[in-house]
Amino acid sequence: MQLSFKNGAVQTLAQLPAGAQAYLQRLDLPEEISQRLMELGFLPGAAVVAAGSAPGGDPRIFRVDGSEIALRRDTASHLYISSQPLPESDQL
């Protein structure tokens, strides 16, 4: 599921290979879930590292803001990322 933005290919967290880092751009999820994710550190601009996964490969585990959070691939595919940090004004 690749979306094209003007500055190149934008991927989702679900596609981030293990060990790689990316910056969260936006959460495309219902208010309730995105609020919970933001409380856990998934804020726009946050650096996210893909760690391991459960034995079957799903859910995956992400390192964000000092903790490890497990998310299903399905949920992660609604978190849009970019390889570059957000512009200074939007950063944490």
Binding site: I33, G66, S67, E68
Partner: protein
Amino acid sequence: MSDSGSCHGAAPQTGNRKAGHYVALVGPPNAGKSTLFNRLTGLRQKVANFPGVTVEHHVGRVKDAAGRDLFVIDLPGIYSLTPRSEDEQVTHNVLTGVEPSLGLPDGVILILDSTNLQRHLVLAAPVLALGLPTLVVLNMADDLAARGGKVDPAALAREIGAPVALISAATGDGVERVVQFLHGTGARPVAPQPRVELPVLPNLPARRRWAGKVGLQAGYTAPAPPEWTRRLDALFLHPVCGPLVFLLVVLAVFQGIFTGAQPLMDAVEALVAGSGEQIGQLLPVGMLRSLVVEGVWGGVGSVVVFLPQILLLFLFLGILEDSGYLARAAVIADRTMSRVGLQGKAFIPLLSAYACAVPAIMATRTIEDKRDRLATVLIAPFMTCSARLPVYTLLIAAFVPNTPLLGQFLGLQAAVLLGLYLLGFAAAVGTALLLRSSVLRHAKTTFVMELPAYRRPSLRSLLLRLIDRAVVFLQRAGTVILLVSVLLWILAHLPYKDGKAPPLEESIAGQIGRAVEPAIQPLGFNWKIGIGLITSLAAREVIVGTLGTIYGIENAEQDSPPLIESLRKDLTPGGAFALMIFFAFAMQCFSTVAIVRRELGSWIWPAAQFVYMGGLAYLGALAANQIWLRLR
């Protein structure tokens, strides 16, 4: 009740505007809130519910400087003060003084994990903005130091305008600062720091930016990643080793509660039998002696015997939870759970349901999705709760030889027990699938789970929890089971014939048993078991007490043989297995029915659940006995 430090002292009373001073303990999940609470209050704590809501919390008692009682309320773990979940609503209500039974707290202890300070500080902003005297506790100081992180509590205090204590609740380091704060509360207003105007923080990103800045000002250096946790996760979440460890853990728990508890149970049994005899000798031969020895001691005693086993189960669950493994287990289980339309978070309530369905159903509140939660509540009573354990243990001990299967590791008795656990699990899975394809059909479930660093479980916390459980269990033995035992004894001795009690068969209890016998005969049960099935509608383990009383009365003339011997004479192996299967499925527990009603807010669900589980129990038992009869 006196002030001698008993377990269940007075607590802030419902109805009163406020009984005594109290301090609210708040913090995010995994910050070590319960560990600190246990350290502060020890045995002077009890579980309570706010009126009208079901969020369970602990209330503990400490003394303030003036020697007055001060209550500490351990509120549910929350990530934010925005009232969305029921947990957050309760915390919000207490902190804003809306909770009618309490009034505004005299102080707040906000506990945060110092190894993840900046994210946790996000919660500090709205809590401090309430303007209550607040102590910010930075917990896990030992972890922080060990992993090379640091923070300057004094600088942080200046930044946020509230006192800050860097402590380790697990080792007790710095806890005296918290005690000092408690002593100050109520005695005098706590305002050692000049109040700092906190910026208005409208949303989460703004709060996180504020937390980052404050952390920086306080000289916060984040600790290195938890190496041990990563190493252990590489093993526990490994594609091959992970599921293997998972299975080994489950197996070890079962073998442990079966063989590990045996010597303790033998000891308790000997104690109960011995004391019953002693008491019997003190009483004159007659009705009173019969009531005490056969009714009360036979009934209550046969249930108390299972205390060691139940405590061992809670001990294992406690270790798994406190060490952090349970969160990994939920992640491993999620994929499988999603196949039956549930999610990994349901794994924890369902695993707790192996101890007791009541706290399990309350624990489903962590599941945000309403349908997920409903499905979990409806299947939780299929999990083999500890009240089934006495029934299973009794029947297995009576009918299954302990042949070794895998050498020392697994015997036939433990294997049968494991099979019964799997049977309950299979019924739960089948029911979940049924619900998902019918009434609870919907698109998707989600799963979000924080994985805390692994930690050595605190012996103190484990022990306190076991004492808590033992008290609850003994209270039940002392109330429900005592009552049923006495009632049963009376029914078994009436109506009087020629001035003495009739034979058991002709008593009221016997007649009731006789009346249901035609319905249960195809299952291989006689009228005595029938009496047990009726009394165990109150709670499953009551059947053991009931059979203890019945056989005690029946064999009163002779030296009464142990319950096991009497059962062997009265049940065929087919009937015994049918009885085990009946107990695996049936919803014989008033408390569960009541909690489902309270949590789901309607009688329809618990009623449907009761009928469904009862029907399944009858058919399952029927099938077991009929198959045995054909194969014999």
